[in-house]
Every structure is written in C-alpha cells, then in structure tokens.
Amino acid sequence: MAWIDEKTVALLKHLIGNFIAAVVVLVAAIGLAFVEKWCVAHQMPDYLRLGARTISFTLFTLDGIVLCGTAAIVSVRLLRKTWEDEH
C-alpha cells in the first residue's frame, strides 16, 4: 500500500464508518417515506401521515448533515495534509 499513507487510511476509515451509519439512517428515512405514501393510499389518520413525514424529513436532514459534514472534514484534512506534504 505504497500509494497511500497511514493518516489517509485512518481518515478514509472514519469516512466509511460514518457513511455506513448514515446509510442505516437513510434506509430508515426511506422506509418512513414509504410509510407516509402508504398512509395516504390507505386513507389513514392525518397524525400518522404527518408523524411519518416529520420523522422521515428529520432523518433525511440528519443524514444529509452527517454525510456532508463528514465529507467536508475529510476533504479539509486531506487538503491540509497534501498542502503540508508539498510545502
């Protein structure tokens, strides 16, 4: 593994670990979005539909922040490391 050093590997491990956790949340959010559709199709009470939508939207938000935040931090650290290595 000569083309990649230990620090980069450690950063990528964190990235992958957070992405896996985020995928689990994403699956839950998509599942709740389907629940909302199901509630509309079967004319379930509004509070169930609204509850499913609220939780689904919040989970999508959470997922977006974790994914983008992790990617941003990893990018910043990799850029900084590259700059330090070059200079």
Partner: protein, 223 residues
C-alpha cells in the same frame, strides 16, 4: 514522533446533526410537501457548524499544545490559603570518613509525609522535607520533558521544511530514531540538573534573606 494525533470528531458530527435536525429540520418538515428543497437549509447550517468547529479546533491546536495536565483539585498558588514550610537538613557531612567508609554510614531518611506543626498564633504549618519536595517536583516534570523535546524538534523540522533547502543528510539525521532518543534523553538530563541547581539556589537565597531580615530585626530591637 507521535505529536500530530488528531482524533476524528465523529461524536461531534452526530451531535450537531441531531441538534440541528431537531431544531430546524422538524419545523421545516411542515413545508416538505410544497417546498422539499428547504431540506438544504438545515444541512447547510449543520455543515457550517461542523466546519467551524473543525477550523476552530485546528487553530487552537496550532496555538498551544497541552503538555502538562493539571489535577482537578489544582488551585493556583495565589489562591492557596495555608502555611507551608520547607525543612532543610542541617547536619553537616561527616568529614572524617575514610576510603569507602561512607558506605557504612546511614543516610538521612527522607520524610515522605508532611508534618503539621502549630505556631504561636495557632496557625497550622505543613513542614515538607526539601528532598521530598524536589523528588515530587521531578516526578511531575520529567514525564512531560519528552513531549517538550518532541514539540521543539517538530517546530525545528517545520522551520527547516519551509526553507526548501534541506539536505538529504540533515533530513536523515533529524529523522533518525536513535538521534531523537539521544536528544530527548539529553534534554531530560539537562532539565533535571537545571531544576536541581535552581531549586537549591532558590532555597539558599530564601534562607539567606530570612536570616538577614531576622538579624536586622534583632538589631532594631537592641537599639
């Protein structure tokens, strides 16, 4: 050298995500049907907070590295309320010793625990053996001297890196583990010696000042 140990803030990322999603995401979910693009707002807020934390942590890491951890019960000396005295051994060394006879003589035993005496005004004074004080001082300082030496070496290396004229021999020399170990050991030894000498000098100076002050007081009373 293991100085640049940056831990990945996974916990902080999730904490910020949960808080922002709860505070901003839930209210915005009311408009999710008509304007689903509003999800961008909490995501941008969260990412901005996470990045700001990262930059702030990076700046404070560069500003100062913590080398010595203070215990929880630590009080600054200015806030210390009490009396502490150092006891210095007054017995002279036996000058009549002959060759290797000093091995037979028993060394003065250092008192580990502080003795508490009460002065005329009823104040309690903790009397600490000066050797014990110096030993404890060494025990506290020496573990961090390696870190201090590593930090200085790292700063020196970075300065060399900026010069763009680092010769391969010098680079090899500075990265050699044996050389680094020797530098750290030397730094530790010199630090110990400096503390020992400075500590003794401080104690002698304080005793001299106290004696002079007492003599002046006695002269004033006599006249």
């Amino acid at each position: 050298m293991n100085i640049d140990t940056q831990t990945f803030p996974s916990r902080q990322i999730w904490l910020v995500a949960v808080i922002v999603a709860a505070l901003v995401g839930i209210p915005l979910s009311v408009f999710a049907d008509k304007t689903p693009w509003l999800i961008v707002i909490p995501i941008l807020i969260g990412v901005t907070v996470i990045l700001a934390q990262e930059i702030w942590a990076s700046l404070s890491r560069n500003a100062q590295l913590t080398l010595v951890g203070m215990p929880k019960e630590y009080l600054e000396l200015a806030r210390y309320r009490g009396h502490v005295a150092l006891s210095i051994p007054v017995a002279e060394d036996d000058t009549r010793q002959e060759f290797f006879e000093f091995i037979k003589t028993s060394r003065r035993k250092v008192t580990k625990s502080a003795e508490v005496i009460t002065d005329d005004a009823g104040n309690k004074v903790h009397v600490i053996d000066s050797e014990r004080f110096v030993t404890l001082l060494f025990n506290r300082i020496l573990p961090s001297t390696d870190q201090v030496a590593e930090l200085s070496l790292l700063r020196a290396l970075r300065r060399y890196e900026r010069m763009h004229t680092l010769s391969p021999q010098l680079e090899q020399f500075l990265k050699d583990k044996t050389v680094l170990t020797v530098i750290k050991a030397d730094f530790k030894g010199n630090t110990a010696q400096a503390i020992n000498r400075a500590g003794e000098a401080v104690i002698r100076e304080l005793v001299r000042q106290a004696s002079a002050s007492k003599q002046n007081q006695l002269k004033a009373e006599a006249s």
